[in-house]
Amino acid sequence: MPTFLPRTMKSLLLIACVMLISACQQASVTFHGKNITGIMPDLAFSLTGEDGQPVTAKAMTGKTVLLFFGYTHCPDYCPTTLMALSQALKALPEKTRRQVQVLFVSVDPKRDTPALLKQYTAYFSDQVMGLTGSHEQLDAITKRYRTAYGYGEPDADGNYSVSHGLAIYGFDSQGRVHLMMRNDERVARMAEDIATLSRL
């Protein structure tokens, strides 16, 4: 088969090129966290705010948004992440800080009433807003940001744990998605990424 090798080689080269191109899509902005521009969808949600009123993504126009999922009875990840975020915010200049809105979405609406969320988020920073909603609304936003949540078995006192994602999603002032931060990212690096995000 004289034509066998060149044809095979050509096909393989073509396939390798396609794979390389798709793997090497260069991101324009650099973050310490992961640049997810174009990978995840832009900001959209319909939830209930701390005053019990509906809040949608429209209300966030002009703000740099950081989105995080959790619940107020969370013993570990939620308080530590919110603490790290509020420290990172403190490290930013006043003007930049005021532009940032942290959205803490509780996936435990049974226990987390708007009033409780208000009390909880105030403990961390003025820039943190608690949100929750019906399971339908929560399913919509968790599916959108490809994160899971679930409930553990309640103990004798009725306390139960809630599993949730650990990512912090960052959106620019137009609600376009750019950044995914790990909850255990160092505070200084978080602050740098938030500052970069606020300039977009």
Binding site: F4, R7, T8, S11, L12, I15, M19, A23, K34, I36, I39, M40, P41, F69, K143, R146, T147, A148, Y149, G150, G152, S163, H164, G165, L166, A167, M180, R182
Partner: protein, 270 residues
């Protein structure tokens, strides 16, 4: 009871592409089989069963609650790809569906489609290309950075699953083609054995690498949250084992079919 069955069968994220392509190919196969029966050359019942079971399995892992677990648990994701790339694709190819699909068109010839298909078939069904693609796609989608993005982006996730299924079917079509290679000009049985060997060892290496790597190789599952609380190390070890052992077993099954075909034609020739 009915409610829980209904819940289990409801897709996590509705995908028109999955539903339409499954319906299209089942309908095409049904029409082709019916036409062949009319002509007295219908496919045997076990081939029909193999085709339908293959499609059903692939549909089940892509478009039921299984898909939810596959998105949020690494080892479930590996099971999903085991079905798409190996088991489901194997069963579909074992049914020898191409002649049935062709028969569906009846006397209605599509010269344009045939012209476009022929060179594509020559490239994709080339033994070296088919083997490199088969192994290459497994490695590509399991490359940690690529895997991370595929699990975050809905279009990439669908592309990943569709490419695994299509590529799996092509590979197994080459391996399991029941025609006599000497008459049909298909890949010889020796070449097919080499293809299986070529696909086997990289998969074993990759599976072992994942199994014995320190946990955290695929941290997208930690970042996005797992479907239920499981030790990340256990998740990775199970995923590694499912990349390693069942695919190797499918290769052996493939080799048995090739051996059977070889003996069949060898006996015929005496």
């Amino acid at each position: 009871m009915w409610q829980s069955v209904q819940g289990a069968l409801t897709p996590y994220i509705f995908s028109p592409l999955t539903v339409l392509s499954c319906l299209f190919f089942v309908a095409l196969y049904g029409l082709g089989a019916w036409r062949l029966w009319q002509a007295g050359r219908g496919p045997s019942p076990w081939r029909i069963a193999s085709f339908l079971l293959g499609v059903l399995l692939c549909y089940a892992v892509m478009h039921t609650q299984f898909d939810y677990y596959a998105r949020f648990m690494f080892f479930m994701h590996r099971l999903q790809h085991l079905v798409l790339h190996h088991l489901g694709a194997f069963l579909i190819a074992l049914a020898n569906p191409i002649p049935v699909f062709m028969a569906a068109f009846g006397r209605w010839r599509l010269p344009g489609l045939a012209m476009a298909w022929r060179p594509l078939r020559r490239i994709l069904f080339d033994p070296v290309v088919a083997t490199v693609l088969f192994v290459g796609l497994i490695f590509f989608w399991l490359w940690p950075a690529v895997h991370f993005d595929a699990m975050l982006s809905l279009p990439r996730y669908e592309l990943m699953n569709a490419s695994m299924l299509v590529d799996g079917v092509i590979f197994w079509l080459v391996i399991l083609d029941p025609r006599d290679p000497q008459k049909a000009g298909t890949s010889g049985f020796g070449v097919r054995f080499m293809m299986l060997l070529g696909a086997l060892f990289p998969q074993i290496l990759l599976g072992a690498y994942i199994t014995f790597s320190p946990p955290g190789l695929y941290d997208v599952y930690s970042v996005c949250g797992r479907a239920w609380p499981i030790d990340p190390a256990t998740d990775q070890v199970l995923g590694g084992v499912f990349t390693w052992i069942p695919p190797a077993m499918m290769t052996v099954l493939g080799a048995l079919v090739v051996l059977r075909l070889y003996l069949h034609y060898d006996n015929q020739r005496g």
